[in-house]
C-alpha cells in the first residue's frame, strides 16, 4: 500500500456511461491482488470540491499497469472521465483484503452485477493463471448496460443475464446460481446490495465458501475514520480495511442501517 501518482496511459469509453482507464504504476501493479481497490483523488490538486477520494476496484493488474473500469455516476467519476493520456492520477492503494482462493478449489463461480464485475475480472485472471476453471455469471439492468464481451478473460465461461431480457437469461443473475452451485468449489461475488441479498438466499445452506465484496461510503479508506463499519460474527468490521471482501457466512448484515 502506497501513495502514488499514476500516469494515465489511456482513458476510453467502454460501454454505456463506462470508461476504462489504464494507469502506469509499476510498484502498485506488482502489489495488487484481486479484490483490492484504489482510493483515488477526483479533483485538481488545488481544489477542495469534491473533497474526498473515491474507491475504485482494481479491474486488472498487468505488467506495470493498473486498469480501472468505472461507471460515471456523479461528480467524482465525472472528473475521472475527464482525464486524458498524460494526466496524473493521485492514488492510495492497493487497499483492503483481496479475494482468497481456497487451496483445493478447482471450479470457481463468480457472480457480478454491473460494474461489480470489475474486481471479478482481476480474480478470473488470477485463477486462470493458476489453471482453475472459471465461470462468470454477469447481471445487467438492460442490454444497453451489458458490458462488452472482452471485459473478462476469454478463457472464462461468461454467462449473461439482463433484467430486460435483451441478452441471455431474462431476469436476475442470481436466478442462475442454483444451477452452477453444485459444480462450484467456491463462490465469489460483487455487485449491488440487492444482488448480494439474493445471492445470500440462493446460497443459503451451502457449506461452500462464498466471498463477497461490499461497498460502503468511505472517508479515509485507511481504517481510521470508521465510516464504513458493519456487524459480523467477529464484531464490527471496516469495509475498507477488514474488507471489502468478506466471507458471506460471517456477515450479519450487508450494510449497517438503522432499523
Amino acid at each position: 500500500m502506497r501513495l502514488f501518482e499514476g500516469l494515465v496511459l489511456a482513458n476510453e469509453r467502454a460501454g454505456e456511461g463506462l470508461l476504462m482507464m489504464r494507469v502506469r504504476a509499476p510498484e502498485a501493479a506488482r502489489e495488487a491482488r484481486a479484490g483490492q481497490f484504489l482510493h483515488v483523488r477526483c479533483a485538481r490538486p488545488d481544489g477542495y470540491d469534491p473533497l474526498l477520494r473515491r474507491p475504485i476496484s482494481i479491474y486488472r493488474a498487468a505488467d506495470d499497469e493498473l486498469w480501472l473500469y468505472f461507471d460515471v455516476v456523479g461528480r467524482g467519476t465525472a472528473f475521472l472521465a475527464s482525464l486524458r493520456e498524460g494526466d496524473r492520477l493521485d492514488c492510495l492503494g492497493p487497499l483492503g483484503q483481496p479475494f482468497r482462493i481456497p487451496p483445493n478449489a478447482r471450479n470457481l463461480l463468480m457472480v457480478g452485477g454491473g460494474i461489480g464485475l470489475a474486481p471479478l475480472a482481476a480474480l478470473a485472471d488470477e485463477a486462470l493463471a493458476r489453471e482453475l476453471n472459471v465461470t462468470i455469471l454477469a447481471g445487467f439492468r438492460s442490454g444497453a448496460r451489458a458490458l462488452p464481451g472482452g471485459f473478462v478473460p476469454p478463457a472464462a465461461e461468461y454467462v449473461v443475464a439482463t433484467e430486460d431480457g435483451a441478452i441471455g437469461h431474462a431476469g436476475y443473475v442470481t436466478d442462475l446460481v442454483p444451477s452452477y452451485l453444485g459444480w462450484a468449489d467456491a463462490v465469489f461475488a460483487c455487485g449491488p446490495t440487492r444482488m448480494l441479498e439474493s445471492l445470500r438466499r440462493a446460497t443459503a445452506g451451502t457449506t461452500k465458501p462464498v466471498q463477497v465484496s461490499l461497498e460502503e461510503r468511505m472517508g479515509c479508506a485507511m481504517g481510521v475514520c470508521l465510516s464504513c463499519v458493519l456487524h459480523t460474527d467477529r464484531g464490527l468490521k471496516r469495509v475498507c480495511r477488514d474488507g471489502p471482501v468478506f466471507d458471506l457466512a460471517e456477515l450479519q448484515e450487508l450494510q449497517w442501517r438503522a432499523a
Binding site: 500500500m1 502506497r2 477542495y48
Partner: protein, 317 residues
C-alpha cells in the same frame, strides 16, 4: 539584513502547550493530528513517519467500548464532510492494553481524546490514562451529550464545561487539553470558564453541526440525522474563533483545528494566536497532509527569516 532576503537556516519549530504543568507538553513542531482522523496512530504508520509529527491525538476513548451509530456515517459536502460516527471506540481497557505500549516506544507525544456522557465517565478515563505510560496528555471532547443535562453537550454551556474540566483536573496528572465546540454564541465565555477551571490548553474547533437531506429518499442522509461538519469549508470560522479567544485570553495555549489542508492554513491559525494546529479531514484527502504541513511551516520560517515559530503566534492580533 538591510534590503536583502533573510534566511533562517535552522528555524526553531518546537512549541510548549502546557507551560504551567510540571511535566509540560513540548512538541517538536506545531503540527498534531486531530482526534478521530488518525485512529490510534498505528494505522497510518506505513505511509507516514509518525515521529515527524508534533503530536498524535487519538480517536476518543470512553470507559467501555462503544458501537457508535448506524450508517451512513459520513457524507461529503462542498469542501467538507459530515460525520456521525457516534464515538465508536475500543474502550479504556483495550486502549491501555493494546495501544499504550506502542505509544510508549514512539518518540512523539500521544494525546488521548476522551469521550464521556457524564462527569464520572471523563474522570474515570482521565484518571486511568494519566497513570498509563505512553499517554502524554489528554484532550477532553466535551461536545458529547451530557446525560445529566438532558443531552445538552457540556461544550455548549460555560457552567457544564467548567464543571467537567474541574472534575477531571482533580484526577488528571498529565497535561489537560479541553476541546471547544464552535456551536456557541460566545466561544470566549466558554474558553475563559474552561481555562479558569484548570485546562492547560484549549483546542478549537470541533465540528459544526450540519445536516444533509437525501432528496431521493426525502430523509436525512446520515443514520444519525445530523453530523459534524469538518474540512476546509469550516476553516474561516475556526480561524475566527481562535482569533477571538487569543485576543481575550492572551497567554493561554491554543491549538487551532478546522480545515487545515496545507502550511498556509496552519500559519493562518498560528498568526491568529494558536501555538499548534491539528490536521483532521485533510489526512483523508492526503495521508501525508500533517507531515507536509509541518514541512511547509518550516520552509516558510526559513524563507521569511523567522528564527522561531513562536514569534508568529498571534502576530495578526
Amino acid at each position: 539584513m538591510a534590503g536583502g532576503v533573510s534566511l533562517a537556516t535552522n528555524p526553531t519549530t518546537a512549541v510548549e502547550l502546557a507551560p504551567r504543568h510540571p511535566s509540560g507538553l513540548r512538541l517538536k513542531n506545531p503540527v498534531m493530528t486531530a482526534s478521530g482522523t488518525f485512529g490510534y496512530g498505528t494505522e497510518y504508520a506505513k505511509l507516514v513517519d509518525v515521529e515527524q509529527l508534533g503530536a498524535i491525538v487519538t480517536k476518543a476513548i470512553s470507559p467501555k467500548p462503544r458501537e457508535g451509530n448506524p450508517g451512513p456515517r459520513t457524507v461529503e459536502t462542498p469542501s467538507g464532510m459530515l460525520n456521525a460516527i457516534g464515538w465508536q471506540n475500543v474502550g479504556l481497557e483495550a486502549c491501555i492494553r493494546d495501544y499504550a505500549p506502542i505509544w510508549r516506544r514512539w518518540r512523539v507525544p500521544v494525546v488521548v481524546n476522551l469521550a464521556g456522557f457524564s462527569v464520572e465517565d471523563y474522570r474515570t478515563v482521565a484518571e486511568a490514562l494519566s497513570a498509563t505510560p505512553g499517554v502524554a496528555a489528554v484532550e477532553l471532547n466535551i461536545s458529547c451529550p451530557n446525560v445529566a443535562s438532558e443531552g445538552t453537550p457540556f461544550a455548549l454551556r460555560a457552567d457544564l464545561a467548567a464543571e467537567v474540566t474541574a472534575a477531571v483536573r482533580e484526577v488528571c496528572e498529565v497535561p489537560l487539553i479541553v476541546k471547544l465546540s464552535p456551536n456557541v454564541t460566545d466561544v470566549v465565555e466558554i474558553a475563559a470558564a474552561v481555562h479558569a477551571a484548570g485546562a492547560d490548553a484549549l483546542s478549537l474547533i470541533n465540528t459544526l453541526v450540519g445536516l444533509v437531506i437525501d432528496t431521493r429518499s426525502r430523509r436525512p442522509f446520515l443514520g444519525n440525522v445530523t453530523g459534524g461538519l469538518s474540512g476546509p469549508a469550516i476553516r474561516p470560522v475556526a480561524v475566527r474563533m481562535v482569533y477571538e479567544v487569543a485576543k481575550a485570553l492572551p497567554g493561554v495555549p491554543l491549538i487551532g483545528a478546522g480545515g487545515v489542508m496545507c502550511a498556509d492554513d496552519a500559519l493562518q491559525f498560528i498568526m491568529a494566536g494558536a501555538r499548534a494546529v491539528q490536521v483532521g479531514t485533510a489526512s483523508f484527502v492526503n495521508p501525508r497532509a500533517a507531515i507536509e504541513v509541518a514541512e511547509g511551516i518550516e520552509a516558510f520560517l526559513a524563507r521569511e527569516g523567522v528564527a522561531d515559530v513562536n514569534e508568529l503566534v498571534g502576530v495578526a492580533l
